[in-house]
Subunit: 160 residues, 2 copies
Protein backbone atom coordinates (compact mmCIF):
# COMPACT_ATOMS: atom_id res chain seq x y z
CA UNK A 1 0.00 0.00 0.00
CA UNK A 2 1.40 3.40 -0.92
CA UNK A 3 2.05 5.50 2.16
CA UNK A 4 1.36 9.22 2.29
CA UNK A 5 2.72 11.33 5.10
CA UNK A 6 0.43 14.07 6.39
CA UNK A 7 2.13 17.46 6.53
CA UNK A 8 1.24 20.57 8.50
CA UNK A 9 -1.31 22.68 6.68
CA UNK A 10 -0.06 25.93 5.18
CA UNK A 11 -1.80 28.34 2.82
CA UNK A 12 1.07 28.01 0.38
CA UNK A 13 0.98 24.23 0.12
CA UNK A 14 -2.83 24.19 -0.01
CA UNK A 15 -3.15 26.95 -2.62
CA UNK A 16 -3.86 24.66 -5.61
CA UNK A 17 -6.78 23.09 -3.75
CA UNK A 18 -8.44 25.88 -1.83
CA UNK A 19 -8.21 28.54 0.87
CA UNK A 20 -6.80 28.14 4.35
CA UNK A 21 -9.01 30.11 6.74
CA UNK A 22 -7.01 31.32 9.72
CA UNK A 23 -6.50 34.45 11.79
CA UNK A 24 -2.84 34.76 10.97
CA UNK A 25 -0.81 37.91 10.66
CA UNK A 26 -2.41 41.34 10.92
CA UNK A 27 -6.19 41.57 10.55
CA UNK A 28 -7.56 43.41 7.54
CA UNK A 29 -9.53 45.70 9.83
CA UNK A 30 -9.90 46.47 13.53
CA UNK A 31 -13.53 46.77 14.58
CA UNK A 32 -15.54 47.16 17.79
CA UNK A 33 -13.47 49.97 19.24
CA UNK A 34 -10.27 48.08 18.54
CA UNK A 35 -11.29 44.96 20.47
CA UNK A 36 -11.77 42.70 17.45
CA UNK A 37 -9.73 41.93 14.35
CA UNK A 38 -11.53 41.12 11.12
CA UNK A 39 -9.76 38.82 8.66
CA UNK A 40 -11.96 39.76 5.77
CA UNK A 41 -13.54 37.61 3.07
CA UNK A 42 -11.00 34.82 3.10
CA UNK A 43 -12.79 32.14 1.06
CA UNK A 44 -13.42 31.99 -2.69
CA UNK A 45 -17.07 30.94 -2.52
CA UNK A 46 -18.12 29.64 -5.92
CA UNK A 47 -21.58 28.19 -6.52
CA UNK A 48 -23.16 27.17 -9.81
CA UNK A 49 -26.93 27.22 -9.84
CA UNK A 50 -27.43 27.40 -6.11
CA UNK A 51 -26.68 29.60 -3.13
CA UNK A 52 -24.49 29.65 -0.04
CA UNK A 53 -25.81 28.03 3.10
CA UNK A 54 -24.49 27.16 6.54
CA UNK A 55 -24.81 23.60 7.78
CA UNK A 56 -23.26 21.81 10.73
CA UNK A 57 -21.46 18.50 10.34
CA UNK A 58 -20.78 16.17 13.25
CA UNK A 59 -18.34 13.44 12.30
CA UNK A 60 -16.82 10.41 13.99
CA UNK A 61 -13.16 10.97 14.90
CA UNK A 62 -10.57 8.98 12.96
CA UNK A 63 -7.07 7.89 13.85
CA UNK A 64 -3.84 7.85 11.91
CA UNK A 65 -2.64 5.72 10.24
CA UNK A 66 -5.81 5.70 8.14
CA UNK A 67 -6.64 3.74 5.02
CA UNK A 68 -7.86 6.04 2.26
CA UNK A 69 -10.18 4.17 -0.07
CA UNK A 70 -12.01 7.02 -1.76
CA UNK A 71 -12.19 10.71 -2.42
CA UNK A 72 -15.12 12.82 -3.54
CA UNK A 73 -15.75 16.14 -5.22
CA UNK A 74 -18.56 18.63 -5.66
CA UNK A 75 -18.72 19.81 -9.27
CA UNK A 76 -21.21 22.58 -8.55
CA UNK A 77 -19.71 24.35 -5.58
CA UNK A 78 -16.92 25.18 -3.18
CA UNK A 79 -17.13 23.74 0.33
CA UNK A 80 -15.71 25.32 3.49
CA UNK A 81 -15.05 23.51 6.77
CA UNK A 82 -14.70 25.60 9.93
CA UNK A 83 -13.91 23.52 13.01
CA UNK A 84 -16.01 24.45 16.06
CA UNK A 85 -13.30 23.23 18.41
CA UNK A 86 -9.56 23.82 18.65
CA UNK A 87 -8.75 20.25 17.63
CA UNK A 88 -6.84 19.19 14.53
CA UNK A 89 -8.42 17.43 11.58
CA UNK A 90 -7.07 15.53 8.62
CA UNK A 91 -7.34 16.92 5.12
CA UNK A 92 -6.77 14.85 2.00
CA UNK A 93 -6.87 16.40 -1.46
CA UNK A 94 -5.87 15.18 -4.90
CA UNK A 95 -5.21 16.81 -8.26
CA UNK A 96 -7.92 16.24 -10.82
CA UNK A 97 -6.38 15.89 -14.28
CA UNK A 98 -8.38 13.77 -16.73
CA UNK A 99 -11.46 13.42 -14.56
CA UNK A 100 -9.77 11.05 -12.12
CA UNK A 101 -7.90 12.01 -8.98
CA UNK A 102 -4.13 11.85 -9.03
CA UNK A 103 -1.91 11.00 -6.10
CA UNK A 104 -3.39 12.41 -2.88
CA UNK A 105 -1.72 14.90 -0.57
CA UNK A 106 -2.53 14.91 3.17
CA UNK A 107 -2.44 17.70 5.73
CA UNK A 108 -3.12 18.00 9.44
CA UNK A 109 -4.50 21.32 10.65
CA UNK A 110 -3.30 23.42 13.56
CA UNK A 111 -5.85 24.83 16.05
CA UNK A 112 -7.81 27.66 14.48
CA UNK A 113 -7.40 26.58 10.86
CA UNK A 114 -10.30 25.88 8.54
CA UNK A 115 -10.31 25.27 4.81
CA UNK A 116 -12.40 26.04 1.76
CA UNK A 117 -12.14 23.50 -1.06
CA UNK A 118 -12.42 25.09 -4.48
CA UNK A 119 -15.26 23.86 -6.64
CA UNK A 120 -14.51 20.45 -8.10
CA UNK A 121 -11.45 19.63 -5.97
CA UNK A 122 -11.12 15.96 -5.03
CA UNK A 123 -10.98 15.56 -1.24
CA UNK A 124 -11.33 12.96 1.45
CA UNK A 125 -14.41 12.87 3.68
CA UNK A 126 -14.46 14.98 6.81
CA UNK A 127 -11.95 13.42 9.21
CA UNK A 128 -11.61 14.97 12.65
CA UNK A 129 -8.80 13.46 14.71
CA UNK A 130 -10.55 14.12 18.06
CA UNK A 131 -14.04 14.51 19.45
CA UNK A 132 -16.33 16.46 19.17
CA UNK A 133 -15.85 16.41 15.39
CA UNK A 134 -18.11 19.43 15.01
CA UNK A 135 -17.79 21.74 12.00
CA UNK A 136 -19.63 24.62 10.43
CA UNK A 137 -19.82 24.03 6.69
CA UNK A 138 -20.50 26.66 4.06
CA UNK A 139 -21.42 25.00 0.81
CA UNK A 140 -23.88 25.04 -2.05
CA UNK A 141 -27.55 24.66 -1.31
CA UNK A 142 -29.36 23.70 -4.50
CA UNK A 143 -30.75 21.02 -6.74
CA UNK A 144 -28.84 18.06 -8.14
CA UNK A 145 -26.51 15.54 -6.52
CA UNK A 146 -23.40 17.78 -6.70
CA UNK A 147 -21.31 14.77 -5.72
CA UNK A 148 -18.86 12.47 -7.46
CA UNK A 149 -17.01 9.69 -5.69
CA UNK A 150 -13.86 7.93 -6.79
CA UNK A 151 -12.83 4.65 -5.21
CA UNK A 152 -9.16 3.85 -5.64
CA UNK A 153 -8.16 0.50 -7.14
CA UNK A 154 -5.55 0.32 -4.44
CA UNK A 155 -6.06 2.22 -1.17
CA UNK A 156 -3.49 4.59 0.24
CA UNK A 157 -2.19 4.64 3.79
CA UNK A 158 -2.18 8.10 5.40
CA UNK A 159 0.22 8.39 8.28
CA UNK A 160 1.84 10.93 10.57
Amino acid sequence: MIKIRAQLLTAEAFAPFGDVLEARGAPDKQINQGLCGRFHDRAALDFDGGRAGISLFKAEPRKLPLTLEMVERHPDGSQAFLPMSQDPFLIVVAPGGGGKPGRPTAFVTAPGQGVNYFRGVWHGVLSPLCAPGLFAVVDRIGEGPNLEEHWFDEPYMIEH
Copy 2:
Protein backbone atom coordinates in the same frame (compact mmCIF):
# COMPACT_ATOMS: atom_id res chain seq x y z
CA MET B 1 -28.03 50.95 36.14
CA ILE B 2 -30.60 48.46 34.86
CA LYS B 3 -29.39 44.90 35.29
CA ILE B 4 -30.01 42.20 32.71
CA ARG B 5 -29.45 38.59 33.55
CA ALA B 6 -27.93 36.44 30.78
CA GLN B 7 -29.91 33.29 30.12
CA LEU B 8 -28.87 30.05 28.42
CA LEU B 9 -29.28 30.26 24.68
CA THR B 10 -32.12 28.26 23.16
CA ALA B 11 -33.51 28.32 19.63
CA GLU B 12 -36.95 29.09 20.99
CA ALA B 13 -35.92 32.15 23.00
CA PHE B 14 -33.69 33.40 20.21
CA ALA B 15 -36.24 32.90 17.40
CA PRO B 16 -37.27 36.59 17.07
CA PHE B 17 -33.64 37.60 16.55
CA GLY B 18 -32.07 34.86 14.47
CA ASP B 19 -31.07 31.24 14.12
CA VAL B 20 -29.26 29.12 16.67
CA LEU B 21 -26.77 26.92 14.83
CA GLU B 22 -26.19 23.69 16.70
CA ALA B 23 -25.94 19.95 16.06
CA ARG B 24 -28.87 19.09 18.26
CA GLY B 25 -31.32 16.24 17.79
CA ALA B 26 -31.17 13.98 14.76
CA PRO B 27 -29.20 15.16 11.73
CA ASP B 28 -31.11 15.90 8.55
CA LYS B 29 -28.93 13.45 6.66
CA GLN B 30 -26.26 10.86 7.34
CA ILE B 31 -23.34 11.12 4.92
CA ASN B 32 -19.88 9.61 4.43
CA GLN B 33 -20.96 6.00 4.88
CA GLY B 34 -22.85 6.87 8.03
CA LEU B 35 -19.87 8.45 9.78
CA CYS B 36 -21.09 12.05 9.62
CA GLY B 37 -24.36 13.78 10.38
CA ARG B 38 -25.37 16.78 8.31
CA PHE B 39 -27.56 19.42 10.00
CA HIS B 40 -28.59 21.03 6.79
CA ASP B 41 -28.94 24.71 5.84
CA ARG B 42 -29.63 26.03 9.32
CA ALA B 43 -29.21 29.78 8.78
CA ALA B 44 -31.50 32.24 7.00
CA LEU B 45 -28.82 34.06 5.01
CA ASP B 46 -30.25 37.31 3.71
CA PHE B 47 -28.14 39.81 1.80
CA ASP B 48 -29.25 42.95 0.00
CA GLY B 49 -26.96 44.09 -2.78
CA GLY B 50 -24.00 41.96 -1.84
CA ARG B 51 -22.95 38.34 -1.45
CA ALA B 52 -22.07 35.87 1.27
CA GLY B 53 -18.49 35.70 2.42
CA ILE B 54 -16.51 33.98 5.15
CA SER B 55 -14.33 36.09 7.42
CA LEU B 56 -12.60 35.28 10.69
CA PHE B 57 -12.98 37.47 13.76
CA LYS B 58 -10.55 37.37 16.67
CA ALA B 59 -11.92 39.27 19.67
CA GLU B 60 -10.70 40.13 23.14
CA PRO B 61 -12.44 38.06 25.83
CA ARG B 62 -14.85 39.91 28.14
CA LYS B 63 -16.01 39.16 31.64
CA LEU B 64 -19.41 39.32 33.29
CA PRO B 65 -20.72 41.52 34.76
CA LEU B 66 -20.28 43.71 31.68
CA THR B 67 -21.45 47.25 31.04
CA LEU B 68 -23.42 47.45 27.80
CA GLU B 69 -23.11 50.92 26.31
CA MET B 70 -24.12 50.28 22.71
CA VAL B 71 -25.60 47.89 20.21
CA GLU B 72 -25.26 47.83 16.44
CA ARG B 73 -27.10 46.45 13.45
CA HIS B 74 -26.46 45.66 9.82
CA PRO B 75 -29.35 46.89 7.68
CA ASP B 76 -28.14 45.13 4.53
CA GLY B 77 -27.43 41.63 5.73
CA SER B 78 -27.65 38.76 8.17
CA GLN B 79 -24.52 37.90 10.16
CA ALA B 80 -23.57 34.47 11.47
CA PHE B 81 -21.03 33.75 14.23
CA LEU B 82 -19.58 30.26 14.46
CA PRO B 83 -17.18 29.84 17.37
CA MET B 84 -13.97 28.01 16.46
CA SER B 85 -13.54 26.77 20.02
CA GLN B 86 -15.83 25.05 22.48
CA ASP B 87 -16.00 28.10 24.73
CA PRO B 88 -19.11 30.11 25.58
CA PHE B 89 -19.75 33.61 24.33
CA LEU B 90 -22.15 36.34 25.30
CA ILE B 91 -24.97 37.39 23.00
CA VAL B 92 -26.96 40.58 23.45
CA VAL B 93 -29.90 41.39 21.20
CA ALA B 94 -32.64 44.00 21.32
CA PRO B 95 -35.99 44.48 19.62
CA GLY B 96 -36.04 47.22 17.01
CA GLY B 97 -39.38 49.00 17.04
CA GLY B 98 -39.27 52.61 15.89
CA GLY B 99 -35.70 52.60 14.65
CA LYS B 100 -34.26 52.47 18.16
CA PRO B 101 -33.40 49.36 20.14
CA GLY B 102 -35.70 48.36 22.96
CA ARG B 103 -34.68 46.67 26.18
CA PRO B 104 -31.85 44.19 25.48
CA THR B 105 -31.93 40.46 26.14
CA ALA B 106 -28.72 38.56 26.93
CA PHE B 107 -27.77 34.93 26.35
CA VAL B 108 -24.73 32.79 27.07
CA THR B 109 -24.01 30.00 24.61
CA ALA B 110 -23.26 26.38 25.37
CA PRO B 111 -20.31 24.66 23.64
CA GLY B 112 -21.14 23.98 20.00
CA GLN B 113 -23.68 26.76 19.56
CA GLY B 114 -23.40 29.49 16.97
CA VAL B 115 -25.91 32.11 15.93
CA ASN B 116 -27.07 33.91 12.83
CA TYR B 117 -28.52 37.37 13.42
CA PHE B 118 -31.33 38.21 11.03
CA ARG B 119 -30.78 41.25 8.85
CA GLY B 120 -31.27 44.45 10.81
CA VAL B 121 -31.35 42.93 14.31
CA TRP B 122 -29.75 45.07 17.02
CA HIS B 123 -26.96 43.17 18.75
CA GLY B 124 -23.98 43.70 20.99
CA VAL B 125 -20.46 43.43 19.63
CA LEU B 126 -18.76 40.06 19.56
CA SER B 127 -18.09 39.11 23.19
CA PRO B 128 -16.27 35.86 23.82
CA LEU B 129 -16.03 34.96 27.50
CA CYS B 130 -12.72 33.08 27.09
CA ALA B 131 -9.67 33.03 24.84
CA PRO B 132 -9.05 32.40 21.97
CA GLY B 133 -12.10 34.46 20.94
CA LEU B 134 -11.91 33.07 17.41
CA PHE B 135 -15.01 32.94 15.19
CA ALA B 136 -15.90 32.21 11.61
CA VAL B 137 -18.32 34.86 10.42
CA VAL B 138 -20.62 34.57 7.43
CA ASP B 139 -21.92 37.98 6.49
CA ARG B 140 -22.51 40.33 3.62
CA ILE B 141 -19.59 41.33 1.43
CA GLY B 142 -20.52 44.43 -0.53
CA GLU B 143 -20.48 48.18 -0.85
CA GLY B 144 -21.78 50.65 1.72
CA PRO B 145 -21.26 50.93 5.48
CA ASN B 146 -24.00 48.39 6.38
CA LEU B 147 -23.65 49.47 10.01
CA GLU B 148 -25.72 51.48 12.46
CA GLU B 149 -24.72 52.02 16.06
CA HIS B 150 -26.92 53.01 18.96
CA TRP B 151 -25.39 54.31 22.18
CA PHE B 152 -27.70 54.04 25.15
CA ASP B 153 -28.41 57.14 27.24
CA GLU B 154 -27.98 54.93 30.26
CA PRO B 155 -25.84 51.79 30.02
CA TYR B 156 -27.13 48.38 31.05
CA MET B 157 -25.35 45.91 33.30
CA ILE B 158 -25.23 42.34 31.91
CA GLU B 159 -24.68 39.74 34.59
CA HIS B 160 -24.78 35.99 35.17
